[in-house]
Symmetry: C2
Amino acid sequence: MTNADGAAPGGPIDVFARRPKRADARRNYEKLLAAAREAYAEAGVSASLEDIARRAGVGIGTLYRHFPTRQDLFESVYVDEVEALCRAADELAGLPPWAALAGWLRRFVSYAATKRAIAEALNHDSPVFATCRKAIGDAGQPLLRRAQDSGDARPDASFDDVLRLVGGVTMYPFADPAQLERVLTMALDGIRVRPAG
Amino acid sequence: MTNADGAAPGGPIDVFARRPKRADARRNYEKLLAAAREAYAEAGVSASLEDIARRAGVGIGTLYRHFPTRQDLFESVYVDEVEALCRAADELAGLPPWAALAGWLRRFVSYAATKRAIAEALNHDSPVFATCRKAIGDAGQPLLRRAQDSGDARPDASFDDVLRLVGGVTMYPFADPAQLERVLTMALDGIRVRPAG
DNA sequence: TTGCAAACGGAGGCAACCCTCCGTATGGTG
DNA sequence: CACCATACGGAGGGTTGCCTCCGTTTGCAA
């Protein structure tokens, strides 16, 4: 699923074709991505670009060369996250239907929890976001369908419904992990078909 | 529960003692609150103060006289919302346990939906927020307890758990009201005790 | 080693926002 | 009506962030 040459059609989301080739450029590119991830987690989408460059230890000019617009930087970070999420779906595919769905949704939560900022920007429409949403759907939908076919998940829930419910849960950080667990359980119970007896 | 003189102990949250007395001042005060509500809904907590003054049709100086800090303005708007929410709990008290709880939670959602900004700030600690959180608890807790006593709501859920679950649902606006309804139903189902057969 | 395309850093001009200060206007009371 | 405490508006100084531009540095291929 990961192929050596970064440009294979149908491979990872195509934004990656952009990754620079020269050694120093590439190094800075990665540093910027990491710094941005950090800054978004702390300050939300409105994190200052100059702060990001500072964190990365590069000049502001370098940031702009790699990511001409704020949106470009944001999208690149986002794409990374989405890829990880999609990979998780593959890994869970072997489990029984409900376990696979629940496991993936938990993963979804932990991804959304650290990256509040990501959710904030999901509205903005851009081809990249559209692609990513589709990628998430392709990864998660089969899990939901399977859980519905096996009678575990309620048949009237759409994939989007489920993401909204589960994604909302961790909109704000939980001080107590046990509470996250309780709330998440309630959410999953809301998705599950009620047992007959 | 609402008393004519604004300063009675145990009456509405005491921030309101601050409301100005002169007619023009009072008018501007209200215009600023309304403008801020609007701005927060559109731009989140980081809405520009100058924009708020502009919307209200008053000078920036006037804004600062009434609300010396950003926090002051924010809190005043917030307190208004919380009061409405508390009033709703009283009004619903006559219904059967589950209906009362579910009704209040729906109200809670609609309050949170328009005011994304409010949720954003729930973390910040300040005496006013603490008071408001307590007021919300005082209003809603009894509804939950009653629904738990009657066997409708799951006994292992804390009030805070419930608010998190339901509040998260509408973190992002729903284009389709029917979807909001579906998702909300799932959330409420997660809170409800599963019927025995 | 050498040469140059590619990449780097950050100064600087511009815009938005924050908040203070003060001269002007006005509601309400005597 | 006249007075003044109260309230008003917005100019202006300071800060921060955005983004462009260009002189300097560096990877790498020949």
